[in-house]
């Protein structure tokens, strides 16, 4: 196996996540896309770990950290979306433009 194959996979996942981030209207789906991106990042980390085999498996440790933080972030994000939904009866991000000019 070469490292590049995984890296390209990760790049593709990241790109798809970006697409979803920019395109999706539902806030939850945006968060979903963000999860995709984070998954891609995890792959990168683990690949580099596999390449250089450090003594403490730094890549993997960090991948776990990323997962943990992602989980926390999702929790908060959904709480916020819940509040928005309660106030506006809609989770449409297009409508959340009060901080405009």
């Amino acid at each position: 196996m070469i490292a590049t194959q995984f890296l390209i996979l990760a790049a593709a996942l990241f790109a798809l996540g970006v697409y979803g981030l920019l395109v999706r209207r539902n806030a939850v789906l945006v968060l979903l896309s963000v999860e995709l991106m984070l998954a891609a990042v995890n792959i990168n980390l683990v690949v580099f770990e596999a390449m250089w085999r450090t003594s403490e498996a730094i890549g993997q440790v960090f991948a776990i950290f990323v997962i943990t933080v992602a989980a926390a972030e999702v929790g908060i994000g959904l709480a916020i979306i819940l509040m928005i939904f309660r106030n506006r009866q809609s989770a449409n991000v297009d409508e959340l433009d009060l901080m405009r000019w």
């Binding site: 920019l22 945006v30 959340l96 433009d97 009060l98 901080m99 405009r100």
Partner: protein, 675 residues
């Protein structure tokens, strides 16, 4: 500075040096100026409006003058003038200031200070309640100081300074009541005529100074007598011009025109300046520089005598027609100045100056007396007077004394001085002039009798309640009457009083002796003729002008057909002067006015207009549009930029995310991949 003292005459040989009093005599020249400043500063607040300073200054001066005079009487005072060098003028000439101490100066110091003091005291009463009294005494003090500068001048330059000073003071005081335009005109006339003559004075001084290499009088006279035989043409021209200047100040024909008009000033001014002192400055100058004239190859003296004679006679006649009592006295003064100038020019140094001396006393007396009358009657004109002898006895008595002295009646002072003049004229060969002078004495007596009769005799024609003047005014009158009577005794020909000598000796004490004619005995013939002329004048005058006892009418309408209108028009001299000035100066004045209005004002207005338009342009174009435009423009740009840029804030998260990603990609490309 060294002089060579020529002790040719015995009187000078043993002259003293005046001691401490001569050392400090400069105080006389300074104190009136100090008084001037003090009066300006404090005069208003004082009880007598600053007269205290003026009288104080002159009192101090009189003390010095008396002491010096007595010293001169007893032992003679002659020393180098005190001088302080102010600067170099070039080609060996220096500018010095100081005071002279010799017989001539000492006599003048006494005269100016004593008569001045008495007039000042008189003026306190005369000017009581008048307007601007502090200024009066200030200007009067200025005059006194300038006159002392003049008579105490050791050189021509200081003399000129004093000369101009008295001219200024004269102008200020003649025009004292400037609310009346007439008075202003009189002041201008006096100043301008004097200024015209002063051109001669200045040029003459320069020429003489350059020709003889010095301005100092002693050196000048010494150089004239010792060195340059006949004197160069430059010096002669200078001497002529100096005489020209003297003519102006001493009102010799034809420069006399200002003196009658100068009567517009307050009477004390007339008394002091235009009778006793200022007008004598010209005579004094001639006396001072006379060695010059004695040495000239082209003898100017006959011309000077001629002018003096004309003045003497022609002006006396004008006194016959004047209604204003001060004008009578003014013409009389001009006439007497003619006597003095004639005497000096004819070589009668002592005669002329003695007459100056006595004339100062009795003319001042007459003027002050006239002032007393004017003060009581509130009018200058004799047609408003009459019979005042009953109301103003002291004024009357002193006035009569003055009039008799002026007429030259024995044994009053005027007799002796006039007699000496006649003697000098005869002795020097000016016989025709002598007879004219005798005729002049007749005229003098005649018009003075007229004046006395019209003023003090007959019935009072005015409307007021005349009363005698207060003591402050009558005491000076009496004080002046005394020398008017007695001064003659100082110079009886051939008489030398023990221990003090006589006037001739006192005057002779100077660096270059005059060598003039000293009469050794009274010439009884001349004395008799002179007295006869005077008495004849009085008698005739009384006959014509005295009130008619029967009808109490006065024949004051006496008229000589052709002559009197001529006299009234003052020989058309004023018209002539006006015509000349209009003819010569008129176009010039118009040209200057045109230049001023169109060219100078045009330039000024043009500049103003340019500035105005420039300012408008700067305001409108540059400031409003330009600078404000830039400032407003900048703010508009900022505003537009802001308006434009704020559209970026859409509030949409995904848009922000997009730009975020793009930014990251760009950065990655630039920094990582392109390397």
């Amino acid at each position: 500075m060294t002089h060579s003292f020529l002790f040719a005459a015995e009187e000078i040989a043993h002259a003293g040096d005046g001691g401490w009093w001569a050392d400090t005599a400069g105080i006389m020249l300074v104190s009136p100026f100090v008084a001037f400043l003090a009066i300006l500063a404090f005069g208003k607040r004082l009880r007598y409006n600053g007269a205290e300073f003026a009288i104080g200054a002159l009192a101090i001066n009189t003390l010095w003058a008396l002491v010096l005079f007595f010293m001169n009487m007893t032992e003679g005072v002659l020393r180098e003038p005190f001088t302080f060098k102010v600067g170099d003028i070039g080609s060996g000439l220096v500018f010095e200031l100081g005071w002279a101490v010799d017989g001539l100066s000492i006599m003048m110091y006494l005269l100016v200070n004593l008569v001045g003091l008495l007039v000042f005291i008189y003026a306190v009463g005369y000017m009581e309640g008048d307007r601007r009294v502090p200024w009066f005494f200030a200007a009067f003090s200025l005059f006194a100081g300038s006159m002392l500068l003049l008579v105490g001048a050791p050189n021509l330059i200081q003399l000129i300074i004093g000369w101009e000073g008295v001219g200024l003071a004269s102008y200020l005081l003649i025009g004292f009541y400037w609310e009346d335009h007439e008075n202003v005109n009189a002041g201008n006339k006096a100043f301008m005529v004097n200024k015209l003559a002063d051109v001669g004075l200045l040029l003459g001084a320069v020429l003489v100074g350059v020709a003889l290499g010095t301005f100092d009088f002693a050196a000048l006279n010494t150089a004239a007598t010792e060195g340059h035989a006949g004197l160069s043409a430059v010096a002669i021209a200078g001497g002529a011009l100096l005489f020209f200047g003297a003519m102006g100040k001493s009102a010799q024909f034809p420069f006399h025109i200002w003196l009658p008009d100068a009567m517009a000033g307050p009477t004390p001014v007339s008394a002091l300046m235009h009778a006793a002192t200022m007008v004598t400055a010209g005579i004094y100058l001639m006396a001072r520089t006379f060695p010059l004239y004695q040495q000239m190859a082209t003898d100017l003296r006959p011309w000077m005598v001629a002018i003096g004679t004309i003045t003497l006679f022609a002006m006396g006649l004008l006194a016959l027609v004047a209604d204003d009592i001060k004008k009578v006295l003014a013409y009389s003064t001009v006439s007497q100045l003619g006597y003095m100038m004639t005497a000096v020019a004819a070589g009668g140094y002592t005669a002329g100056l003695f007459h100056l001396f006595t004339h100062a006393f009795f003319k001042a007396l007459l003027f002050l007396g006239a002032g007393s009358v004017i003060h009581a009657v509130h009018s200058n004109n004799m047609s408003d007077m009459g019979g005042l002898r009953k109301y103003m006895p002291r004024t009357y008595a002193t006035f009569v004394i003055g009039a008799l002295a002026l007429a030259g009646i024995f044994p009053l002072s005027g007799f002796w001085s006039k007699d000496e003049i006649l003697a000098t004229l005869g002795h020097e060969g000016y016989t025709a002039v002598m007879w004219i002078a005798i005729a002049g004495a007749f005229v003098t007596a005649f018009y003075m009798t007229r004046a006395v009769a019209l003023t003090f005799h007959g019935t009072y024609k005015g409307h007021g309640h005349p009363h005698e003047s207060p003591a402050v005014m009558t005491v000076p009158l009496i004080a002046l009457a005394i020398p008017s009577v007695l001064a003659g005794l100082l110079n009886i020909p051939g008489v030398e009083w023990p221990g003090i000598g006589n006037f001739t000796e006192w005057l002779a004490v100077r660096v270059v002796p005059m060598g003039d004619h000293h009469a050794e005995a009274i010439d009884f013939f001349l004395a008799g003729v002179g007295t006869l002329a005077a008495v004849a004048g009085i008698v005739l005058g009384w006959l014509i002008f005295a009130p008619d006892r029967d009808t109490q009418q006065e024949r004051d309408r006496f008229e000589v057909p052709v002559l009197y209108p001529l006299f009234r028009r003052k020989y058309y001299m004023d018209d002539l002067a006006m015509g000349i000035s209009r003819f010569t100066m008129g176009p010039f004045a118009r040209f200057v006015n045109w230049t001023n209005t169109y060219i100078i004002d045009g330039i000024v207005n043009g500049v103003g207009g340019v500035v105005y338009h420039l300012a408008r342009f700067i305001y409108g174009g540059v400031d409003q549009r330009g600078i404000d435009g830039i400032v407003n423009g900048l703010s508009a740009v900022a505003d537009a930029a802001g308006s434009g840029l704020r559209k970026l804030q859409t509030g949409r998260v995904q848009q922000y995310a997009a730009s975020f990603v793009m930014g990251a990609i760009v950065l990655v490309i630039v920094f990582v991949l392109v390397r």
